[in-house]
Amino acid sequence: MTPPRELVVISGKGGTGKTSVVAAFAALAGGAVLADCDVDAADLHLVLHPELGQEHPFSGRRQAIIDPDECTACGRCAEVCRFAAVLGTLDDGYSVDPIACEGCELCRRICPAEAIRMEPVVNGAWMVSETRFGPLVHARLGVAEDNSGKLVTLVRNEARRVAQERGLPLVIVDGSPGIGCPVISSLAGADLVLAVTEPTVSGRHDLDRVLQVVRQFRLPFAVCVNKADLNPDLGEQIAAEATAAGAAFVASVAYDPAVTHAQVAGTDIIDYGGRAAAEITTVWEAVGDALLAAAERDVHDA
């Protein structure tokens, strides 16, 4: 069978409605694998109420540990550490700040007393859970932890694996805000990127930056202007700019308090109904068309 297609939903700016849109798409797709790649603040489970699957530990890095019995307090480790992660003084001895340590292992390699060892840091967990709309692969990153990019990649790979195993044609990825490492990790190889924005000066500015990243990766993309009636002129300007930048389509969804009401009721907006539900359904149809077009291009290119 053909490998599953992957739709990645991002936003640049936070709080534009990514997760609400993804939950709605999950309801409309009826049988896609969902991947919550906003591992910093994963919220999809709050509206999908999954039956939680088994937790698997995630270790994104290793950390240096200094054995105080072996340490001769020569201070060489503190000297070479670029991350200011070695704490202590010649008199008091040394230890490693677990948050600052990036696991480069240089201290262990140069320690003349061989007093330093590396230990994996379990800094998160991931699971495959079951929702009313299909499997959900999600994760939790330990608080104050690094390497969310690695965890994002893991979640996406697992989602693809689950899709293939169960013969499901589509993976829907809920991405994170920003343009840095977790976003870049969630984009690579996507069949379609949907950027959800809002008609505000910051929504426009942040969309512009994240679309530059998307275009660097040469990925097909579309834009959804959420809460479009908040500032119709700016909404139209954003739409025109996105079209000029090569968006497959630009759709808009009106501000609808029902989106918040649905969230408070712990359900998706499609279930709840209303204007936004109808408009998101139209966006979903456009997503389907764009994914088909991308698939046809792939066949043609092959």
Binding site: G14, G15, D40, C104, R109, A144, P177, L230, T260
Partner: protein, 294 residues
């Protein structure tokens, strides 16, 4: 006094609070400096339109190999914990975007064939806000270059710009979330103001942010935006955790529309000046209280 404005969830109003609070304080004659440390998506400048006087590139060190000296022994690839160096036959290949600048390769190369050179991944912009007849204050903005994955060096450089500054109040607009760039931005603050909204997403992400703040040994207060929206989960959580709510901003379409246009709420919403004044008193009291107890 250094106050960081952060949130678990994005889009809750960090930037709104930071820009309006800084402007209000400057208007009251307080010397204030605002840092935009949300380097992936820095937005304060959209509302404050500073005059940028100086741009300093943020440079990270990456290895460069002297092919004359290199014997293709492979030690550099072996010691790189981040797979940023690999050997293809007898050629050393460097992937600069994976490099953490730890210096292991250059220090451990037996031939001393590796040196490090700077690679720009962002910029810190130094500007002055001179809106209308309001008093001026400095705005420092960290901007991550588009396509760069690692935000932390730019965040770090933005915060490092605080060394030796003279203002009485430093406000930091932090990025959303709870991971490395956020930690870099809030560390060293006297108090963290966590902005949230009273929805299930807002509550869930607030609990993560509170855990982060506590893991760093910092203390926090909570500001609730769109306070009449949603449910009372955030309020109940704050009561149970002993977290002070220092501001409740209403869900007002005028606020949303002014924000959408890139205006300060101080200009658009009556009574906001007083609300922010009260907020500031709460913040000062909380920071002072924490100082006494710690």
């Amino acid at each position: 006094m250094r106050i960081a404005i952060a949130s678990g969830k994005g889009g809750t109003g960090k930037t709104t609070l930071a820009t309006n609070l800084a402007t209000m304080l400057a208007g009251r004659g307080v010397t204030v400096r605002l840092l935009d440390a949300d380097v992936e998506e820095p937005d304060c400048h959209l509302f404050l339109r500073p005059e940028v006087e100086r741009r300093e590139p943020v440079s990270v060190l990456v290895p460069t190999v002297d092919e004359e000296r290199c014997t293709a022994c492979g030690v550099c690839a072996e010691v790189c914990a981040f797979h940023a160096i690999t050997m293809i036959g007898s050629t050393v290949l460097v992937f600069p975007e994976l490099c953490h600048s730890c210096g292991a390769c250059s220090l451990l190369c037996p031939e001393e064939a590796i040196s490090e050179e700077g690679r720009d991944t962002g910029v810190v912009e130094y500007g002055t806000v001179t809106a209308g007849d309001r008093p001026v204050f400095p705005l420092v903005t960290g901007v991550l270059s588009v396509g760069e994955a690692k935000a932390v060096p730019t965040t770090r450089a933005t915060i490092a710009s605080l060394d030796g500054v003279a203002e009485d109040v430093i406000l930091i607009d932090a990025p959303p979330g709870t991971s490395c760039p956020v930690i870099e931005a809030v560390r060293g603050s006297d108090l963290v103001v966590l902005v949230t909204e009273p929805t299930p997403f807002g509550l869930h992400d607030l609990t993560l942010a509170v855990d982060m703040v506590r893991a760093l040994g910092l203390r926090c207060v909570v500001a609730v935006n769109r306070a009449d929206l949603g449910d009372d989960g955030v309020r109940r959580y704050c009561a149970a955790e002993g977290l002070e709510i220092v501001l409740e901003l209403p869900n007002d379409r005028r606020i949303a529309e002014a924000y959408a246009r890139g205006e300060l709420l101080l200009d658009a919403v009556d009574g906001l000046e007083e609300m922010l004044g009260a907020l500031w008193e709460h913040i000062v009291a909380a920071a002072y209280r924490l100082e006494v107890t710690s």
